[in-house]
Symmetry: C2
């Protein structure tokens, strides 16, 4: 079950009206992974246990209540049946000494016992090996195995498995590469801007195969690389139906400030990653999506599943949550797709979709679902203008869950604007009124510039005083499609207490933003507003759901 | 002389206390190029007339007082003796029809009359040929020549010189390539993400040599490419003492929102540009630096000189200046230099320095200088803490010029901070007090994250209401140098009415930001403030100059 504070547990759709200011539990996301208490950063060791149908996420952790990054850094551990609600299990891996850390890494299911760590008493589906960075005097790559389905680990007695005598080699992500019949590791030689690719037959002996050097936006250093093969949703021919994607995190030094994830599309031959072009692409154009990792051992025909740390090193240690700091993003499903990038051109793009309470497993097995729709609001076929009244009618602010999911499909019907036209409509995400004040998160589309923007300004002193907490972010979007009425766009959004995830145009652009309402305020209602006298868009469909626990 | 409104002309250091709110002339930069009236965007045709020692800048222009982008788009024209004060000459090139435009392009000095446009009556140093995009049904590349030193042009009677039957090929920048004895043009095939390289013996016949495709951050489209060879300030050996740099503008679609300039370092062989690596680098990490162009015909041993349009298409048409819209950046001097990018690595980086009233020409010839220091303030060797009083003492707010230049060199002397330490100091750029309110532009350094940030929030309604006017921007900086006392950093800043240009670490990172104080306020004073009880930096040198006209 999800970790709720006692205050929130009763009644079922929790009372959330006037939490004392001293408590910051009102800011805790409900369908995003957070640690019960203490500090969290990068996701680690993510894998799916096919036997027990259980999703495991480890994470960089220090359970101390000060909730700031500090050694000893451990692997905290949470599990989920439905990828929305998470059970916290404390530390799964700890360093030898208090001034050291088990830094980021990955887990593989060593079904065929290539490592020799297992015997018949461990089910092949639960032969769990962790590959991580031991951060002591140097950064070395070490391994450990679990005989209890991933709840605890035994460190290999001949660690490290890679030692290049460097304090700056870290974050191994390992996958089984069927085509070359070997384990492949991508690991960052951080300050040399290298993603190093190693191969191994047994997870113990590793050979350096190649370096992917000085590509993308460099920032200060490379961290947390990844590599996966993704299906192309709409292949151009029968030959190329999938592509490899190399993932990379840079921090600090994002052009937006701080931390960001980028990716490269290309081919991988078991030795070298060959990018298709020289382009730099960011995974998520918000400021709160870092150190992405994909799950090992998922079933590949669906694409990959993964998540990222939903924060930014510029302010992660000072965000105004008291007993824990930060959450993960929602788990997202990843594929590739050719999409229009401008009127003359299309390109292969990463597609991200959050499977909010509708994963393959939960579709198969309804009892796995932990989340239900508490309230629903729908508008269809509306020519939006300033006289339209588009606002949720939940009348539920006294017992809101603070979890809203919305889908908007619309057609821009007017073109050829001048600068004096009203060409903007906003989606206002409003809090309840507390002590006479209400706060609003603004998401808006400007038809003149074909751009979406977020303004996450709130009244919270943390935000007002933290200049690196960039409040205004924006992105260009190309049309998704054309019809006789005009050009079509879509937006899928999930807002959960202190985090807003936006998926533009069927997941071809994502933007993740944390935000902090003050005085116990949580998101309770949505409205669409415009000042335009004459409609310039038609809302084809706008559906808002308030989500709550079963 | 610079174009001042009558209000500003008397007395010499203009009275600027209580301009009526209706006038927005208080926002007009004084040492940045602005059009007398009307709309301006990309710089065009920039060249240096060595005979008359005169700098020419053309620009995308429409002199209509509505000051918004509209056809007919012309080439406006301004000239300068000192690169700080500019004479406006109206339109130099106009399209054939009112719904068309002379879009961006460049000028070369055709000293050897390769084009055949000139005879002995035109001095070789003043054989001016413009190469531009004619924007009508298609975008074609055309040329025109001037027989009056660049003040007016005669269009070639066999235009276009390049017609690829496209509405999306534009912004030719031409240079003489000595090594291959030909003219080289870089031009954008915008939506195909191509920089096309053409060669010509005579500026009339052009052959496509190569395409530089899908590199860098792609955005919506490529615009305004550039190519120049720059000296390396600190070459690693005697063989490689210079490198070629390919420049590129993308709009919309910058990760910061809207418009941005990027660059690639490599080699050019007369046919193809070969980048040294796959890295994406932005020229300026603010939101107001677009469509950069370099001057033709400067003397190469100094590096290149160039400037950019200091605005962003996200808000350029709506900024709150009434009779004109936007300015150029300061002219900057460009070189390359190996700088530290992290503790383990260094890299070749573009170095930008504004030659504020100290160009080679003005050094040689003092009578060319139009700008003087009106007031000066200096602090040296100060351990900064909350009790320090570092603030300009100009006492000049009643007749300030609104132009401040400052240089800060400092040493970070304390390390190993925790998150509860005060690790930030700010440079506050304050306005005078008008009707009881003062506004402040904040530039701050955080030693914990080794980052600079700008918070350009003001009380102006335009800024408050324009969510795409991102107010908070930040950048990581690596140390410049080390000493026994700690690690050293520097910052050079110029603030001029509504624009702030920051040059971190001797020009290795630049950040350009426009801002709009309300109610006639202009920048009048600077202070350095910190809340730290215990000093964590020593100010080695802090010099502030208020600049004014001679």
């Amino acid at each position: 079950m999800i970790q709720l504070s006692p205050l929130l547990l009763l009644p079922l759709f929790s009372v959330f009206n006037s939490i004392a200011d001293a408590s910051t539990e009102y800011l805790r996301p409900q369908i995003h992974l957070t640690p019960d208490q203490g500090w969290m950063n990068d996701p680690n060791g993510m894998f799916y246990d096919r036997k027990d149908k259980l999703w495991h996420v480890y994470f960089q952790h220090n359970p101390d209540k000060k909730s700031i990054w500090a050694t000893p850094v451990t692997w905290g551990h949470s599990t989920s049946k439905d990828l929305l609600t998470w059970d916290y299990h404390g530390n799964a891996l700890e360093p030898e000494n208090d001034d050291e850390g088990i830094f980021s890494g990955s887990v593989v299911v060593d079904r065929n016992n290539t490592s020799g760590f297992f015997n018949d008493s461990t089910d092949p589906e639960q032969r769990i090996v962790a590959i991580y960075t031991n951060n002591a005097q140097l950064q070395t790559q070490e391994i450990a195995y679990s005989l209890d389905k991933g709840y605890s680990f035994i460190k290999y007695d001949q660690n490290p498995v890679i030692n290049v005598n460097s304090s700056q080699q870290r974050d191994p992500k390992v996958l089984w590469h069927d085509e070359s019949n070997q384990w492949i590791m991508v690991v960052a030689k951080t300050q040399e801007f290298k993603v190093q690719i190693y191969g191994s037959p047994d997870l113990k002996k590793w050979d350096l195969k190649s370096n992917f050097t000085s590509n993308g936006y460099l920032g200060f250093q490379y961290e947390c690389p990844g590599l996966f093969k993704l299906p192309i949703e709409n292949p151009l021919n029968d030959t190329v139906t999938s592509k490899w994607v190399l993932l990379l995190a840079i921090n600090p030094g994002s052009p937006l400030g701080g931390s960001i994830n980028e990716y490269f599309i290309g081919d991988f031959d078991g030795t070298t990653f060959h990018p298709d072009d020289g382009a730099t692409r960011f995974m998520d154009i918000g400021k709160d999506f870092y150190a992405f990792q994909s799950f090992d051992n998922t079933e590949p025909e669906d694409g990959a599943l993964g998540l990222a740390w939903a924060s930014n090193w510029q302010y992660a240690n000072t965000v105004p949550t008291e007993n824990w700091r930060s959450s993960m993003s929602l788990v997202r499903n990843y594929t590739l797709k050719y999409v229009d990038v401008n009127p003359e051109n299309y390109g292969l793009t990463l597609i991200q979709k959050p499977p909010v309470f509708d994963t393959k497993e939960t579709r198969k097995n309804d009892t796995l679902k932990s989340i239900d729709t508490v309230n629903e609001y729908e508008v269809t076929d509306l020519k939006l203008d300033k006289y339209s009244n588009v606002a949720t009618d939940f009348n539920s602010w006294r017992n809101s869950t603070g979890i809203l999911e919305f889908t908007l499909k619309f057609t821009q019907t007017k073109f050829g604007f001048s600068y004096s036209n009203d060409t903007t409509f906003g989606i206002f995400i409003n809090s309840q009124t507390v002590r006479g004040t209400q706060e609003t998160l603004k998401v808006a589309f400007d038809a003149l510039s074909s751009s979406w923007y977020v303004d996450r300004s709130t009244q919270h002193p943390f935000q007002r005083e933290t200049s690196m907490f960039t409040e205004r972010l924006s992105t260009y979007v190309e049309k998704m499609d054309e019809s006789d009425d005009g050009i079509e766009f879509s937006l899928h959004g999930v807002v959960d207490r202190d985090i807003l995830e936006l998926y533009f145009n069927d997941g071809s652009i994502a933007m993740t933003s944390t935000f902090f309402f003050s005085q116990g305020k949580i998101p309770t209602s949505l409205a669409i507003v415009t000042d335009a006298e004459e409609s310039f868009i038609t809302i084809n469909e706008f559906v808002v759901k308030e989500l709550g626990f079963k």
